[in-house]
């Protein structure tokens, strides 16, 4: 009971009450992207991925110039050397420097991954956007076509197209983007449709919001999220497809190198005990896949407003 505390008469004088304080929102509002960035930064795995990607990109730019060798120069007196002071990653069966080749390969793999993702993104936005904005019959037909093309196995089509095209970087990108844009188109269409129908966009319109404001406040945060995640996850898919093509001898041709072709070259060498020739491209490609995948996952989590606490 109240006996525990000393009560004096003056304590029962009415208090000056501040009603504004009662209604104050206790936590500050944070802008959408800084909130996303804050949550992404808290995700250690995703940040590891981001740092790895930056490191890989830097090495892809500067790595090929770092030890004075070129990717094509052969020295038959120095075949199958183990890593040493001169050749940091050793040499291959033709006496080429593997350090330079590995980072030259990184350049090609990353370039193909980024380009494929970019082209897929553009094609997807155009096709998906038109389909959603036109709506009705056009939308129906366009999506049926996309559905049919999507049902054709991706890698099979890429390989088939590569049989016809001459091997090289640009034919690979063409082969990969011919069918690769469909998931993006479906995603963009879904996002645009959702936006057209969404209550808060309608509400913003009714409230007399300017188009640019609606775009910035609603369209960009809510649609760009899933699209950004999709782009991030397209990059490792493209790198994987390139590696598989090169591994099968349909992609990058010697003397050029990619991680896929380096792995293929190394396949014979493991039987003679030169494991490092395999380990280096295998590690690099796995690290890249890992980095993009965890970054994509992290982005997905960071962008999901449902998880916003």
């Amino acid at each position: 009971m109240a006996g525990k505390i000393e009560v004096t008469e003056e304590m029962f004088i009415p208090a000056e009450n501040n009603f504004q304080e009662a209604d104050r929102i206790s936590r500050p509002t944070i802008s959408y992207w800084s909130d996303v960035w804050r949550r992404l930064r808290a995700n250690k795995l995703a940040m590891t991925g981001l740092v790895l990607i930056i490191l890989l990109c830097l090495m892809a730019i500067f790595g090929p110039y770092m030890n004075g060798f070129t990717y094509y120069e052969q020295d038959f007196t120095k075949k199958n050397l183990a890593p040493n002071a001169e050749h940091w990653f050793g040499t291959d069966a033709s006496g080429r420097d593997l350090f330079t080749r590995a980072w030259y390969g990184a350049r090609i793999s990353l370039f193909i991954g980024l380009m494929a993702a970019l082209i897929d993104f553009m094609l997807g936005v155009i096709y998906g956007g038109i389909s959603a904005i036109r709506g009705g019959r056009t939308d129906n037909i366009m999506m049926r076509i996309a559905e049919v093309i999507y049902s054709i196995p991706y890698l099979l089509m890429v390989i088939l197209i590569m049989v016809v095209l001459k091997p090289g970087i640009f034919p690979i990108i063409i082969a990969m983007t011919i069918t690769g844009w469909i998931p993006m188109a479906r995603l963009v269409r879904g996002q645009v449709l959702q936006l057209k129908e969404n209550e808060y966009v309608q509400a913003a319109k009714v409230a007399g919001a300017k188009l640019s404001w609606t775009l910035r406040k609603h369209l960009i945060p809510n649609s760009m999220g899933p699209i950004l995640v999709n782009v991030t996850l397209t990059i490792p898919t493209a790198i994987f497809a390139e590696a598989t093509l090169s591994f099968l001898g349909l992609g990058i041709q010697p003397p050029q190198a990619s991680w896929g072709s380096l792995t293929n070259d190394a396949l014979g060498s493991i039987l003679i005990g030169n494991f490092y020739q395999l380990a280096i491209p295998a590690l690099l490609i796995s690290l890249t896949m890992f980095a993009f995948n965890v970054l994509g996952d992290g982005l997905q989590d960071a962008l999901d407003p449902k998880l916003r606490e």
């Binding site: 049919v148 049902s151 054709i152 197209i161 591994f247 349909l250």
Partner: protein
């Protein structure tokens, strides 16, 4: 239900037709005709083939003859072998490829589900982290890299398993694991997410409020519902296993359809490429069709919407 199945079947046929058409266009965009390979064939055989496959007729006629041929399951002769037809290759290769693919899928589904369920039940504790590390590795390491690593360590170095070829059960272990890792990882991740979502559903609370034991709640109420999204991606994962199998078959020297496809590419053996592409696509489209039908059969909510259409 029947109406839905017929509807889906019609789309499967349309997709197959589109695949055949696209494949035909791609293969016929190669300059010259597919049989014109210098000197490997006697003139009389060449002329017979020209007549038999109507290569002297206009492309459009050839296309309809090709459709008819495929409908009759005749994929034509191989250029490499004078005695064997593409059909002979498929008859020999299919059981091997089927064995490999099925074994890999069983491993992937079984261990993927177990890992996913365990991870969801021990969220943010070590079983969860262990499962998710396995899943990240499975997604990051391309199958050909994993295959070469498995060969290097388990076959060459420690001789637990044979290096290559397809003779006894022990020959099937390494290729099956290499092929299973990627879908296993996807299933584990999806099952985990799906389980976590289901475990937060109100009906799980209802089941607990009935006094059911924890295990009964998980098995009877959670897993069954959590399986639904996993079933929907099984079709795509099977497609990945099938396309992944030609890389794996190539590495391990397994005489399946994948290896036939890759050899066909290397030898530019067009009828073999064409035939195996169409065969692969047919198998895949059929599998995805089956998965869709199974899904509507196990999820009562879809059965009704399908039937009421």
């Amino acid at each position: 239900m029947l109406k839905y199945v017929l509807h889906r079947f019609m789309w499967a046929i349309i997709t197959l037709w589109a695949t055949i058409t696209i494949t035909f266009i791609i293969m016929h965009s190669i300059p010259g005709d597919p049989f014109a390979k210098e000197g490997t064939m006697p003139e009389s055989v060449y002329e017979n083939l020209q007549r038999h496959y109507n290569l002297d007729k206009p492309k459009i006629v050839q296309y309809f003859f090709y459709l008819k041929q495929v409908a009759l399951l005749d994929f034509g002769p191989s250029l490499k072998s004078k005695t064997l037809t593409v059909n002979d290759y498929i008859e020999k290769g299919f059981p091997v490829s089927f064995h490999l693919g099925a074994q890999a899928m069983i491993i992937a589904v079984f261990f993927g589900l177990i890992l996913g369920v365990i991870a969801s039940l021990y969220r943010k504790r070590w079983p969860d982290y262990t499962s998710m590390i396995i899943a990240i590795i499975g997604i990051s390491v391309p199958s050909f890299v994993l295959a070469t690593l498995l060969i290097n360590f388990l076959a060459v170095k420690w001789s637990f398993f044979p290096v290559a070829t397809w003779k006894s059960w022990s020959h099937t272990v390494l290729p099956s694991i290499a092929l299973a890792m990627m879908p296993l990882a996807y299933i584990a991740r999806l099952m985990r997410t799906s389980m976590i979502e289901v475990l937060n559903q109100d009906y799980i609370l209802t089941a607990k409020a009935k006094g059911l034991r924890k295990n009964a709640v998980i098995i009877k109420h959670a897993i069954r519902n959590a399986l639904m999204p996993v079933v929907t991606i099984l079709g795509i994962l099977t497609a990945n296993v099938v396309t992944g199998s030609f890389v794996i078959e190539h590495i391990f020297g397994i005489p399946g359809i994948g290896e036939m496809f890759v050899k066909g590419i290397m030898n530019r053996d067009y009828p073999v490429i064409l035939g195996s592409t169409v065969f692969y696509s047919a198998i895949l489209i059929f599998l995805i069709f089956i998965v869709d039908v199974v899904y509507t059969w196990i999820d009562p909510r879809i059965k009704v919407t399908g039937a009421s259409k």
